[in-house]
Amino acid sequence: MRLSHIATLGVKELRSLLRDPILLVLIIYSFTFAIYAAATAMPETLSRASIAIVDEDRSPVAQRIIDAFQPPYFLPPAMITQSEMDERMDDGRDTFAVDIPPHFQRDLLAGRQPAIQLNVDATRMSQAFTGSGYIQSIISEEIVAFLQRYRAVDVPAIGLALRARFNPVLEEAWFGAVMEVINQITMLSIVLAGAALIREREHGTIEHLLVMPVTPFEIMTAKVWAMALVVLVATAVAMTVVVQGALGVPIQGSVPLFLAGAAVHVFATTAMGIFLGTVARSMPQFALLLILVLLPLEMLSGGTTPRESMPTLVQVVMEAAPTTHFVLLAQGILYRGAGFDVVWPHFAALAAIGAALFGFALARFRATIGQMA
């Protein structure tokens, strides 16, 4: 192994990439517009939820409840009749439908404990839970406030002070922006490394490398560092210009530490890209393989949905995926302001996974390199 070879070959990779306008456009798109769009389009957890109200009481208290549903959490409520309710929920036009029964106010004041019905479209899981919680507390507040004008109501003496740390108003864009950066890092590092190998194979240049005094290790390491560098530079730009700049996400922790983590992550994913490049016989196969690998890596990493909610088996299997650790590491550093003393286990895990993937890919590369030429 000679470092000079690795450096020379890596510079060659960078020069090749510079002359590939399609890949360049893709890199720029992925690290700017794609992140911006994904972050801004991601609504607040409960945002503009569609709600319909069947008001069979038409009393002041009913009106009070209706007026309480306001944007941004809810769209202005649609006033409907009971017969329309089923149809509208079937079409998916409403996620929630509140039914205020006849004589609600009269029964309420008489202490007969009337019931308001809340219908929830439980196929929309993300809104169903939080939304029904909001609706319950809004209705309760309004009714309690209404009742207080008539008689003393026992307000619970035991309060609950809820505070969200690291993201006090729970803004989704903060979360979405960084998770999108992570997804793009993973995708591009796999694709660039895989494409760099397949391009050599298609142009027949790999054959040329093989008759020269360079080893497969040098060829592979050169591709890994060159593509990793490209992804890291793009990431640094995306973090400062797009995430902190255009999106205005306040970053708690150290961006350099995050980039260091990204470097270890990209080491693992570029190795994975090379591995896929050796497995795929043609570009269509590489494309399909990419989807098969990329989607689980991104969706099950904990970057889309909480890891706690996945079956134990999935959680255990995903411990071996670099993305899982990278997401944990990124969340720790960027949101919670954690330092290296806190996140080092994830660094260690990423390095171990990267080393294993690299070794595996290298073995596979060595074994198949003869057939490529």
Partner: protein, 905 residues
């Protein structure tokens, strides 16, 4: 002479900045065998592509069969009267399809009915001698057979004008001779047919009726071969061609002279092969090849494409490990891991395989560095190479912008950069013009004689073989004979080396089975193929695509199995019920009341308790590390205050790093707190705490609020968007990359037929995929399909129409398979996953996301999938969602058809 079959006036053609044709004016006579001669890259192929209508006319006027080829109506009308066989062995064939299926595909494109097709195919394969091989895949034919098959495909519709672009390049001499005999017979059968051929073999061209010599995008001279010879006063066509070249190009050209080879006896051979054998599966590519090459010798390997020349060379360089036998370089066995041997060998592969993204200088420097030349010596060495190989003027140019001859010199310079003792050159001169070739050979001879570099070279040019010290004739993996060229000619009693080679080939093939001279029957000309929309042509493309898909099981299996694996991963993985959340308590009270409060949370299925928090620093650290997502702080005196009914506040800290999870935790904590307070009040029999009203929540469609029930019907639409779109896009772009797209350019198939024909098999594959996914949902996931299966199936068909059409749309502007993979991924993943209501309802999206969510087909299909799976709905209920799906597919296809070009530009 009758009117010319094709007339070009002031025709120019550029690719970017490169000029391919420069103000060409030419009349090509009808009813004869007309040839374009000249090396690669002089504009022959461009000219043929223009005449055939495959490429759009940029400047000037191209008149073929009495009309302008710039006029789309005329092109459509005369298209069926022209046949075009593009350059490259079997370029327009489909390698996985059999001989019969290939010809059959073309027959269908020309709307021939079954009986007509079968009769024509039978005649054609009988005439070309392919009859015994009709079931063999085209990819497994030899070069000569591929070209015969290409010819069959071109002749299936009785063209008036047959255009052949270098039909015999890379084919062995025997097959070449048979090919021209075949053309001769066909012309005898159909005297009216005009044939236009481009060729780089001057010997061949000497037999044509009329020639146009081309160079640098211009026509040098036209006329019968004898006229050209007379005009230049030369004896061979090659010499005539050189004489016709402009003065500047001829400058410095002189005939190649080879001093005799002399080697000191007793020296160890530079290369030795003993019984070298290479098998790929049950196919033997190289069969017990042995030879010895002395130091400084020029040793030639002569044979057709695919005879094992390249494989033998690769074994010698260590690129391929031999299955059997041994090879020695400089007396040491070839060992792929021995990097030192590599330093003594220079290798030049068949295709130009340097980095086209690097300039000439960068390529030279890169190789110098990799061969470990000391950094200080590199600039001098690079300069020396540039001077010796005449590259000084073009050092900062990209290889793509250079003519072939210069690129080959660059390849040789790169192979020589480290001063190797041996050069292995795999067909270094194919396609290079005669002058550049002679120049190349002068360098080789100088290297051999002056520097004593051993040269092992393969070629299929006979006149080059004659320049070698010794040659081996190779055929079908075996060396037929190995000796000096003169001895081979003398031994077989032939007049030329070519005849000697044919003689040996015939001997090797056993008794010559000359193709039965079956008359190429002229079937009653079929009905003129219809213009406009023709279902048969559409189905012809579908049939072919389906066959290819079936022969490529990897792709089909990945598409089906892959989507099922993904569904399992996503169905189980994306669960939105949040459970097992970690929390810890900072209990500053330590009374039974405070413990009861903590127990209330720990006892729920949502939370897992971690060891208690000791102080605020501990709380900060553990939250930072993400160890706990909820911290509860119970103030001192909590139990006492509660008992006395004094106001007291419990603190709860939620990890907000993941907002959706934080929201859920907040909901849980609020509910549990409320529950605890109520329970306490009831236990204390405090009547006033009884709530004055109640809210009844009905979770509809999914009463248990299970994630699977919500997610599985939403995952199906994502998968049915992604995979069909990508496969369809790749299927079109692949044809562009491999070259078979030319069949679409030159046959009567319309844009719509082509697109829908390609789409259909993927639509069916998608439906199969859909059934598998629904089956998986019902069985493995246990998600019941409560509504109308037929409504869902109908919607799926419409949806797949749209997703495959989206793939087609992407394929109209994407050129490479890499770009197609990416482009379709970008166009499908983000909109389908984020903006189509899979996780957040479309109605709650804003901005671009909302716009995409309203028009993207996935959004509407998700509504239908959830409606039928969970909401027990049918056609009538889902009408509003069907309408957009109904529009999307046809609209996308129409747009694709508008964007797709029927000609290359």
């Amino acid at each position: 002479m009758t009117a010319p079959i094709a007339r070009l006036e002031g025709v120019g053609l550029r690719y970017g900045r490169t000029v391919a044709l420069d103000d060409v004016a030419l009349d090509i006579p009808a009813g004869v065998m007309a040839g374009l001669i000249g090396p690669d890259g002089v504009g022959k192929s461009s000219l043929l592509a223009l005449v055939s209508g495959a490429r759009a006319v940029q400047a000037g006027r191209v008149t073929v069969l009495g009309g302008s080829m710039a006029d789309a109506r005329h092109r459509d009308a005369v298209g069926p009267r022209i046949a075009y066989m593009p350059q490259g062995l079997g370029k327009n064939l489909y390698p996985t399809l059999s001989v019969f299926e290939n010809i059959d595909f073309f027959g269908r494109l020309f709307s021939q009915d079954r009986a007509e097709r079968e009769q024509r195919i039978a005649d054609l394969v009988a005439a070309t001698g392919l009859a015994p091989f009709v079931d063999r895949p085209a990819g497994k034919l030899s070069g000569g057979m591929k070209q015969k098959l290409s010819l069959c495909c071109a002749l299936i519709h009785d063209p008036e004008l047959l255009i052949l672009d270098e039909p015999t390049t890379g084919v062995d001499p025997l097959s070449r001779r048979q090919f021209w005999e075949l053309i001769g017979r066909i012309r005898a059968e159909r005297p009216g047919m005009s044939v236009l051929v481009a060729t780089a073999y001057m010997e061949e061209a000497a037999r044509f009726d009329w020639l146009a010599a081309m160079d640098g995008g211009r026509v040098l001279a036209t006329g019968a071969p004898t006229e050209l010879l007379a005009q230049t006063g030369t004896e061979t066509l090659e010499a005539a061609f050189i004489a016709l070249l402009p003065e500047a190009k001829r400058a410095g050209h002189e005939a190649v002279h080879r001093p005799p080879f002399a080697s000191p006896d007793g020296e160890a051979p530079a290369i030795e092969a003993r019984g070298l054998t290479m098998r790929f599966g049950d196919f033997t590519a190289v069969d017990h090849v042995s030879f010895r090459i002395r130091r400084g010798e020029i040793f030639g390997f002569l044979g057709s494409n695919g005879c094992g020349k390249t494989t033998t060379m690769k074994m010698l360089t260590g690129l391929l490990p031999a299955s059997e036998g041994e090879a020695f370089l400089f007396g040491a066995p070839v060992d792929a891991t021995n990097l030192d041997t590599r330093r003594r060998v220079g290798y030049m592969s068949q295709a130009f395989s340097l980095y086209t993204e690097l300039t000439v200088r960068q390529n030279l420097v890169l190789h110098a560095k990799l061969f470990g030349l000391p950094a200080s010596a590199i600039p001098d060495r690079v300069q020396a190479m540039a001077d010796r190989f005449g590259l000084s003027a073009i050092m900062d140019t990209l290889p793509d912008a250079l003519p072939l001859g210069q690129r080959q010199r660059l390849s040789l310079a790169v192979a020589m950069i480290h001063g190797p003792e041996m050069l292995i050159l795999d067909e270094p001169t194919s396609g290079v013009d005669p002058i550049a070739r002679d120049e190349f050979w002068r360098i080789l001879i100088e290297l051999s004689r002056r520097d004593r570099v051993t040269i092992f070279i393969s070629t299929h040019f006979m006149n080059e073989a004659e320049r070698c010290d010794r040659i081996s004739l190779m055929h079908a993996g075996r060396v037929l004979i190995s000796d000096t060229p003169a001895a081979i000619v003398a031994q077989s009693g032939a007049a030329t080396l070519e005849e000697a080679f044919i003689h040996h080939l015939e001997e090797a093939a056993g008794p010559v089975t000359a193709p039965a001279p079956a008359p190429v029957a002229t079937v009653a000309p079929g009905h003129a193929s219809r213009r406009g929309f023709d279902l048969r042509r559409l189905l012809s493309y579908s049939r072919r695509e389906a066959l290819e898909l079936r022969r490529d099981p990897v792709r089909a299996t990945l598409a089906l199995l892959g989507s099922m694996i993904l569904m399992i991963i996503m169905g189980y993985g994306i669960s939105l019920d949040v459970e097992n959340l970690t929390f810890a308590v900072l209990d500053r009270d330590q009374t039974t009341t405070s413990q009861d409060y903590a127990l209330n949370i720990a006892g729920s299925r949502y939370f897992l308790e971690r060891p208690p928090i000791t102080d605020h620093a501990d709380l900060d650290r553990r939250m930072e590390a993400g160890e706990i997502s909820l911290a509860i702080e119970i103030p001192p005196g909590f139990g006492r205050d509660v008992a006395r009914g004094r106001a007291v506040e419990v603190g709860a800290w939620i990890d907000g790093a993941m907002p959706s999870r934080a929201q859920t935790i907040r909901g849980y904590v609020q509910a549990m707190h409320q529950q605890w307070v109520t329970q306490r009040a009831e236990r204390n029999a405090n009547a006033s705490a009884v709530t004055p009203f109640s809210i009844e929540i009905r979770y509809r469609y999914n009463p248990d609020v299970r994630s699977l029930v919500a997610m599985v019907p939403a995952v199906i639409p994502i998968l049915l968007m992604l995979i069909p779109a990508m496969l369809t896009a790749l299927s079109v772009v692949r044809e562009k990359e491999l070259g078979s797209i030319v069949n679409f350019y030159v046959t009567p198939v319309t844009r719509l037929e082509f697109l829908m024909g390609k789409q259909l098999p993927y639509l069916l594959l998608g439906m199969l995929n859909y059934l598998l996914l629904v089956g998986l949902a019902l069985t493995l996931f246990g998600v019941p399909l409560k509504g109308s299966f037929w409504a869902l199936t109908a919607a799926t068909a419409l949806y797949l129409c749209a997703s495959t059409a989206l793939g087609l749309l992407a394929s109209t502007f994407l050129r490479s398979q890499v770009a197609a993979t990416f482009g379709t991924a970008v166009m499908t993943i983000l909109p389908a996953v984020q903006f189509s209501g899979v996780i957040n309802p479309v109605s709650s999206l804003e901005g671009i996301g909302a716009l995409i969510g309203h028009i993207y087909p996935t959004a509407h299909y998700v509504t239908i999938a959830r409606g039928t799976f969970s909401k027990s709905l049918g056609f009538a209920d889902l009408q509003p969602s069907f309408l957009p799906l109904l529009i999307a597919g046809p609209l996308l296809i129409a747009v694709s058809a508008m964007l797709l070009r029927k000609q290359e530009r």
